[in-house]
Every structure is written in C-alpha cells, then in structure tokens.
C-alpha cells in the first residue's frame, strides 16, 4: 500500500467519523439550548465529563486528519503547488489543529473552572 492510498483512505474514514461527530454536536447543542441552558451552564456540565471529553477528542483528531489531506489537494490542483513542501505544510497544519483542538478539549474537561 502506498502513501497516497493511505491519505485518501484516511480522508474517507475521517469523513465518516466527522459526519457522526457533527451530527451529534449540532443535535446536542440545539437540544440543550432549547432546554434553556446557556454557554456557561454547558461548560460547567462538561467539566470532569470524560465521555464528552473522549467524544470531542475523537472529533478533533478526525478533523485534524481530514483537513490536511484536503488542503494538500487544493494546493496541488488550484495553486499548482506540487513539491514535498505541500505535503509537509499540510502535516504542520494538521498537527497544529490537533494540538489547538486537544488543548481546548482538555481545558473544557479538566481545566480550572472560571
């Protein structure tokens, strides 16, 4: 199996995960807001909740796998950027997304409440 097949396959698989994550995220958000919760209440409930922490960690990882593959494709097809740095730049962006996202999840679940 070659690297491009991996990238393409990873993007497909992460898309499936993202479909579920986005659906659950939006549905839950609409539901709790209609139930009268405000942002501060939601954050308070998420604190210490490992199940939601795991859910959002999966969400972040799926996004940070999915995004760089697509960005590399855009760089290739639209910007004519075809050398190895297109791949490296996309990996850097993916890593940055993962770090920023996981830090936010950690802050929600385990961080000190304001």
């Amino acid at each position: 199996m070659n690297v491009t097949l991996n990238a393409w396959w990873l993007q497909r698989m992460s898309a499936m995960v993202l479909t579920l994550c986005v659906a659950v995220h939006l549905a839950t958000m609409i539901w709790v807001v209609h139930g009268g919760l405000r942002a501060a209440d939601v954050i308070a409930r998420l604190h210490g909740n490992l199940a939601w922490g795991a859910f959002y960690a999966v969400f972040v990882i799926a996004a940070s796998v999915h995004v760089p593959v697509g960005l590399r494709r855009i760089a290739d097809e639209w910007l004519n950027w075809r050398d190895a740095w297109a791949g490296r730049a996309s990996v850097i962006i993916g890593t940055a997304l993962a770090l920023a996202g996981l830090r936010a999840v950690y802050a929600l679940v385990a961080g000190t409440p304001a």
Binding site: T4, L5, W8, W9, R73, D76, E77, W78
Partner: protein, 244 residues
C-alpha cells in the same frame, strides 16, 4: 431544402496553434447538417489549408471530437440545430481542451493515449491461442460491469471536459480509468495487481472529484464517473479478475 443565399450559417473556426485566433466563415445552411459537415465544407470549398481530423463520419472511430460552442462534442453526430438554438447564433468550433494544439482543429492525442497505457488499459489474457476459449457468463456481475463501460470509442470528449485533468496534468483522466475498470472486471485478464497499483493512487481514481462532466458529455452515454467510483470502492480489496 435547397440552400439559399440568405440561408447561411456564421461560423468561427480556430486557426493556428496556441497563439492562434478564431476566423469567421459563412457556410450554406443545409438540412440535417452536422458540425463535421460544416468543417468539411470550409476545408473543401473555402480554405483548403484548414486542418482537422475525422475518419468514419458515423460515430464509430472517435477521431472528430472538437469543442463546439464551448462544449466538447463528437462533431459527426452533432447536428448544427442541436448547438444553435436561436436565430443569429454563431457556430464556434475549436480544438479539444487539455491537449496540445497541433494546428487549427487538430490536437496531439499522445498524452491521452499514453495515459490509457499507464492505467494498464490493455488486455493481457490468461491463455494462448491453442487453448480453448474461456466461457464467460454474460449475466455475471463482473461481465455486466465491464460491458457497461466497454463501448468507449476513445474520442477524448470526457478528457477535454474534465476539470481535474485541467488542474492536475498527471491525472489519468476518465477514459483511461473507465478502460481500467472494464479490465478489472475481466476475469481473463492477468494484470490485476499492477493495474491496481497504476490506478489506485494520486494520479488515478483518488483524484476524481465526481464532478460528472465526463458522464454528462460522453457521446456514447457511458458513465466514467461510475467506473471511477468502482475503482475507488475496489481500492482496498483484492482485485476481482483473473491471475494476480
């Protein structure tokens, strides 16, 4: 219907190569006139230096495809009335997109056919001529999938209509991938492993965005988009055909 002086057709034809320009012509309007009839009239009666390519004139050989009013078409089976909907419309004929212009309406098809070869778009059988013919059930799913894409005449309309080919010059394109898919489903073919490597990559089926222009414009009403989707699905499976 006899042509009359007032019953003429305004045509603009690409002349020259990449740095060329459109040249206007007036051609007599005739009943059941095809775009190829128009080009042939210009070449035989107005300007013998006009270069274009055709052979069979009946939609079999795939050599007369051109860009007609912005859309790639087989010119021998395209009636002028199908392109010109309103009185006063001008017929604009240019060479196919995404292939180097040679002169006027003729393009260099080398890259197009090289990609068929690169996609392992040719048959390599599992028997020699002394062996009896292998019986293939026409109703088997593999044979039906192959039959669905087999009638390609290699005209290049799909290739010229594909945006991804324009964006990514090493993309194999719809025709080569469609041909590869027919062979993936040919149980007699012995190149399944190398073909799989050739088409399941960044220059192959993974680059297809499923825009569907190839399927929309294929004059033989084939569906390269579906064939490429088949290659994508087959991407992580063992190829179906004969010896690996």
């Amino acid at each position: 219907m006899q042509p009359s002086a007032s019953d003429s057709l305004s045509v603009r034809v690409w002349r020259g190569a990449e740095d060329g320009a459109f040249e206007p012509f007036e051609v007599p309007r005739r009943e059941s006139q095809t775009v190829l009839d128009v080009v042939t009239f210009i070449q035989r009666s107005i300007d013998a230096t006009l270069s274009y390519r055709f052979a069979c004139r009946v939609g079999m050989c795939g050599s007369c495809a051109m860009t007609v009013n912005g859309r790639a078409r087989w010119t021998c089976r395209t009636h002028v009335t199908k392109v010109l909907r309103h009185a006063g419309d001008v017929l604009e004929i240019a060479p196919l997109n995404h292939l180097p212009m040679v002169k006027d309406l003729a393009v260099d098809m080398t890259a197009f056919f090289d990609k068929w070869r690169d996609a392992k778009g040719y048959f390599a059988g599992n028997r020699d001529r002394s062996a009896p013919l292998e019986l293939i059930d026409p109703a088997s799913p593999e044979r039906q999938a192959a039959d669905a894409g087999i009638e390609c005449i290699g005209c290049g309309v799909c290739y010229a209509s594909c945006d991804v080919v324009g964006w990514k010059p090493d993309y194999l394109g719809p025709a080569a991938l469609n041909r590869a898919w027919t062979l993936v489903n040919d149980v007699r073919d012995i190149q399944q492993g190398v073909r799989h490597e050739a088409v399941s990559n960044d220059a192959g089926c993974h680059s297809c965005h499923t825009l569907g222009s190839c399927t929309e414009r294929c004059p033989k009403a084939l569906a390269p988009t579906a064939s490429i989707a088949g290659l994508k699905r087959a991407g992580r499976q063992t190829p179906k055909g004969g010896t690996r």
